[in-house]
């Protein structure tokens, strides 16, 4: 069960009606994984319906960790948090994104939903190494992996969930899959959705990719 509306990093109080409904849905559906994103989505009661990035700093970690704890306590389940793709960075960041994510999941004692395409997109946009990011992930906490397509815009990559998974992302995924073989893999495709056969083909391509030895 995957959410986009918790606004875990937001500074508004967590929405009690939303949490109550999430709890009821989780108890009814009994999903394998309950997840949302490492981001903020509302400010002063207004919602942006986007996954806005957090500055990578101590204040963000402690803020997110306490809110993740509140969610986990309310729903009575572990929460998996997902790294987002981002298009802007902050002057107040004091650490790399992988240091931030690793410390956050340790401090919050939660699981990680690792989106490999998001790592690739952010690495390109901010000029860091996706391989270095992925070498520092606490894989014992990764319960799910996301793959998706992106598009090349004027000066940046956009995570649009509307294309095939790129070869570069598949290369990264091969290495990731070996480090957490138990994690379930989801191919996200929710823009310009092609016929179902094409989606199935894409899933098979991803499955095949882990069965081929990397050069």
């Amino acid at each position: 069960m995957h959410g986009v509306g918790l606004s875990l990093g937001g500074t508004d109080p967590l929405s009690n009606p939303y949490l109550a409904q999430l709890k009821a849905l989780v108890h009814w559906a009994k999903p394998e994984v309950v997840s949302d994103h490492i981001c903020f989505a509302s400010v002063d009661g207004s919602y942006g319906h986007d996954l806005w990035p957090m500055p990578h700093c101590e204040e963000s970690i402690s803020h997110l960790a306490s809110r993740i704890a509140q969610v986990q306590e309310t729903i009575g389940r572990r929460l998996a948090v997902e790294n987002v793709s981002s298009y802007v960075s902050f002057q107040s960041s004091t650490m790399t994104e992988w240091e931030f994510v690793g410390e956050l999941v340790r401090r919050a004692d939660c699981d990680l939903l690792l989106d490999v395409n998001n790592v690739y997109v952010s690495a390109h946009n901010h000029g860091f190494s996706a391989a270095e990011y992925l070498s520092a992930i606490p894989y014992e906490r990764v319960v799910q992996i996301h793959l998706a397509g992106h598009t090349r815009e004027n000066g940046y990559l956009l995570d649009n969930h509307g294309a095939m998974v790129s070869e570069a992302v598949l290369d990264l995924f091969r290495a990731v899959a070996m480090k957490c073989p138990e994690a379930r893999v989801i191919v996200e495709w929710d823009e310009k959705v092609p016929p179902f056969e094409k989606l199935l083909e894409e899933v098979h391509r991803v499955e095949q990719s882990t069965q081929v030895e990397s050069p």
């Binding site: 509306g5 606004s7 937001g10 500074t11 929405s15 939303y18 903020f40 989505a41 509302s42 400010v43 002063d44 009661g45 207004s46 919602y47 942006g48 319906h49 986007d50 806005w52 500055p55 204040e59 963000s60 803020h63 298009y87 802007v88 960075s89 902050f90 002057q91 107040s92 960041s93 946009n125 901010h126 000029g127 000066g155 940046y156 956009l158």
Partner: protein
């Protein structure tokens, strides 16, 4: 800068162009773009997503206004009514009212389309009408369930959604109601309009039935009308 303040600057940057001066203290540049250009990606996504969501919920309204005028009006609407709900589809809740002073036809269409959205996303009926309730109609109250909305509109608005042969009627009562996973729009027949009006008020079920039976046509067709209320759970029963 503390997190709360940083997020307010982010929000202002996304909502306004070119955004507040403080953004220069918040955002950093990327290897290929300056900080303001990076932040503006979020501004474009914000406006695109909100307006796109309104196009999704109000396709007929958009058709009436034309794509460009609809986009312009939505931009003003969103500036005045930012989303206050975690579910994006709730964004349009004030749009019919907003359009009322701008365009009568568009506002009426928006009211019908908003009723469609409400019917589609309504929770299941906790206490739908049953056959047994017919025997207790003197003591039970009945009201329209969340998945059924009654909207009264002028004829030219109704014609955007259903065929209307009768040219003499200036106003038309529409029943916008969910059946399975689709929402159906139907004209409430003349014999049933008083009964539906009572249902929207949560009246005694006996009074609703009496309205249905007040014309010969209603008496003849009451069982089919009530049968739909039971089958699709369009009516909620309130005890006492």
């Amino acid at each position: 800068m503390r997190l709360k303040q940083l997020q307010r600057v982010f929000w202002e940057t996304v909502r306004t162009e070119p955004g507040p001066e403080e953004q220069d203290l918040v955002f950093a540049s990327s290897p290929s773009m300056n900080a303001r250009d990076c932040a503006s990606i979020y501004r474009r996504m914000y406006w695109y997503r909100q307006i796109d969501a309104l196009f999704d919920v109000f396709p007929t309204t958009a058709e009436v206004l034309g794509s460009q005028r609809f986009t312009e009006l939505c931009t003003t609407y969103i500036a005045q009514n930012p989303s206050e709900h975690p579910a994006l589809e709730q964004l349009g809740r004030h749009l019919p009212q907003f359009l009322a002073a701008k365009d009568r036809l568009a506002s009426g269409c928006a009211a019908v389309e908003w009723a469609q959205l409400k019917a589609l996303t309504a929770p299941d009926n906790p206490r739908g009408l049953t056959v047994n309730d017919l025997y207790e109609s003197e003591t039970t109250h009945a009201r329209a369930a969340a998945a059924m909305h009654i909207v009264e509109v002028e004829r030219d608005i109704a014609q955007r959604f259903i065929a209307i042969d009768d040219a003499s009627e200036p106003a038309v009562m529409l029943r916008v109601a969910r059946a399975g996973f689709t929402v159906r729009i139907a004209r409430v027949p003349a014999f049933a309009t008083s009964a539906y009006t009572r249902l929207t008020k949560g009246d005694l079920f006996a009074a609703v039935c009496a309205e249905l039976a007040s014309t010969p046509e209603g008496t003849a067709r009451a069982s089919s009308e009530i049968g739909d209320w039971i089958r699709y759970e369009w009516v909620t029963v309130l005890q006492g």
